[in-house]
């Protein structure tokens, strides 16, 4: 039963209680200056954005098939069965491929630190695994951020749209985007108007690289046979040439293998090039 967050932009009043609760849960500083920042960063893992008279909220989407976890060379990012994508800073070597791969530009880096970590929301994995709500959902006074079972939240979102069709843009963001996300959005206007990336692919991103990576055993096995076979053929020609008494280069080091002269099968064009030169 994967968990999720439903953020209803039409209910959000921009009070930023979620931001404060999030900062407290991570032990990050939070004051008026940080509250004014409308962008997630290494010291602010969720942010309320203002788009005219509407609000939107940014946080890690905790994708159903996360690109970040698939690209991490050391497996520092893991998708849990509970839903959250969790991060192990002890494994991370700081290649920042997760940041490059994330279609939502969520992971942030501690750029000025000498021992930097990547930072992102993990949908309060620790709290949720104890049966508690995420800190942001618990703090939200209007119900704009709701935490619960993903399927139930999708059903609830559909119900809200059906009950007040005039109030909602008729789609749930996060249902199909990159194969589905754990954070779902409802909005009164098309999603790009509240700052969401609507050009992301509908297919899960890990597929794009796995399509190539899964060929690896085939490439290695076929390549071994092919290269080994070519060597066997060319080497056989040399053995024959040697037996037929082709002259050997004297004085070559033992490491310089196959010191037979030009072979019949070898292309002859360089000889022509040589001929051209006086």
């Amino acid at each position: 039963m994967p968990r999720a967050i439903l953020y209803d932009s039409t209910l959000c009043i921009g009070c930023k209680a979620c931001e404060g609760a999030c900062a407290e849960r991570w032990g990050l500083p939070y004051d008026d200056k940080i509250a004014a920042e409308e962008r997630i960063s290494a010291h602010k893992l969720t942010a309320i954005e203002t788009h005219g008279d509407r609000f939107s909220r940014r946080l890690c989407m905790n994708c159903v098939q996360p690109a970040c976890a698939s690209v991490c060379p050391v497996g520092a990012l893991q998708k849990t069965t509970l839903g959250p994508v969790v991060y192990d800073a002890e494994k991370c070597m700081g290649c920042r491929y997760c940041m490059q791969a994330c279609p939502f530009q969520v992971p942030s880096y501690e750029w000025s630190s000498r021992l930097p970590r990547m930072r992102k929301c993990d949908m309060c994995y620790a709290r949720q695994s104890q049966g508690k709500l995420t800190a942001c959902a618990e703090a939200c006074p209007t119900g704009a951020t709701k935490n619960g079972d993903r399927d139930e939240l999708i059903a609830e979102a559909a119900r809200r749209i059906a009950q007040k069709p005039g109030q909602y843009y008729n789609r749930i963001y996060g249902l199909k985007e990159v194969g589905g996300t754990s954070v779902l959005y409802l909005s009164a206007v098309p999603f790009e108007q509240i700052g969401l990336r609507t050009h992301v692919p509908q297919e899960p991103l890990p597929e794009t690289t796995w399509r190539v990576l899964e060929l690896l055993p085939d490439v290695v096995s076929t390549g071994s046979v092919l290269l080994g076979g070519i060597w066997w053929i060319t080497n056989r020609r040399e053995e024959v040439a040697r037996q037929e008494g082709a002259p050997k280069h004297a004085g070559r080091p033992p490491g310089a293998s196959k010191n037979t002269p030009r072979l019949e099968g070898a292309p002859s064009q360089p000889a022509r090039e040589e001929g051209k030169h006086p």
Partner: protein, 391 residues
Amino acid sequence: MNLRLPKITFWRAVFAAILLSGLYATYLRVFYGLGGSTNLSDRFPWGIWIAFDVMCGVGLAAGGFTLVAIVHIFAIERYKPVLRPAILTAFLGYLLVVVGLLYDLGRPDRLWHPLVMWNPHSVMFEVAWCVTLYTTVLFLEFLPVVFEKFGLHKPMEWIHRISVPLMILGVLLSTLHQSSLGSLFLIVPEKLYPLWYSPILPLLFYVSAIAVGLAMTIFESWHSSRAFGRALELPLLASLARVLAVVLSVYLWIRILDLTHRQAWSLLLLNRSETWLFALEMALTLVPTVLLYQARVRMDPGKLYACAVMVVFGFIANRLNVGTTGLEAGSGTHYIPRWSEVAVTLSIVASGFAIFRLIAGYFPIFEAHSAEGAAAPRELEAKEEDPVSVG
């Protein structure tokens, strides 16, 4: 002699200036982190330390596996005189890639993590393993040079015994990670500009790596012939240039097909920076391809060298476009490397030249040459000393 001395001093001064700036940039990197030494940001996490130091570094070292395949697997023995310089370039190239990575990784002390913490779904994981194994292979392929220098015949026999599987392994590992550097970007379909994003990025990276490997072989032969005052293996390089022309033609044709199938040509009508960068990259690839089909270009050391340089710059343009400029629009940000990023990159390149020269002066790298030399040394001696004679 009178002409030579001030010139060498000039290049030595440039070299020293580059290394000093690199040293100061290193201080910034160590004590002020990536934030104090780069212009990277959350929206633009990879800069030239990845796009140039790693992606170009690995590609420019591709001559190693290409020539091993040509000489030892396809047994086209006459290219042997340029094999050792190619292996040395590759070995140095990969070591310098690791140096570049130490700068770029947020936690360079954890460089070894992918070897023990596995994620087979990650392209980066595969690249890490391939680069580690291939650097080891290159070390073993370079060892005979050392054994020969010191007359160690026993170890030479040992290494000779494993040489065939070793060479096949090297070619396979190169095939995997040269293409995988392209696969790295398959995960960003919505970020990388469509002139560069293609499902066949791995194939494009592989073919262009072979091309630039050949171009680098010509490049370094030309430079070393001047630095060491030895004759240029011109007929040999001319025939290698033929191979290069064919590989470049194949590469260009694949790109044309790719852009056609993805219906991306119309993007060239837009007056955007990407259009011009793409045009530059294509021109730097197309012009040498056309020129190299002409015998008078291939047999003229200067023109041949100019073509090799164009191929190298075309390759660098391509990797920088995929790794940085092509990602700017999709990331909604601009990235211009900070001076310290450039200083580190230049220092790495300059060190590469200097170390190559040192090793080539001490070890028998161009040993096989005297037997094959048929070029015109007279011509070369008349010309001035070149930048490689630094150090």
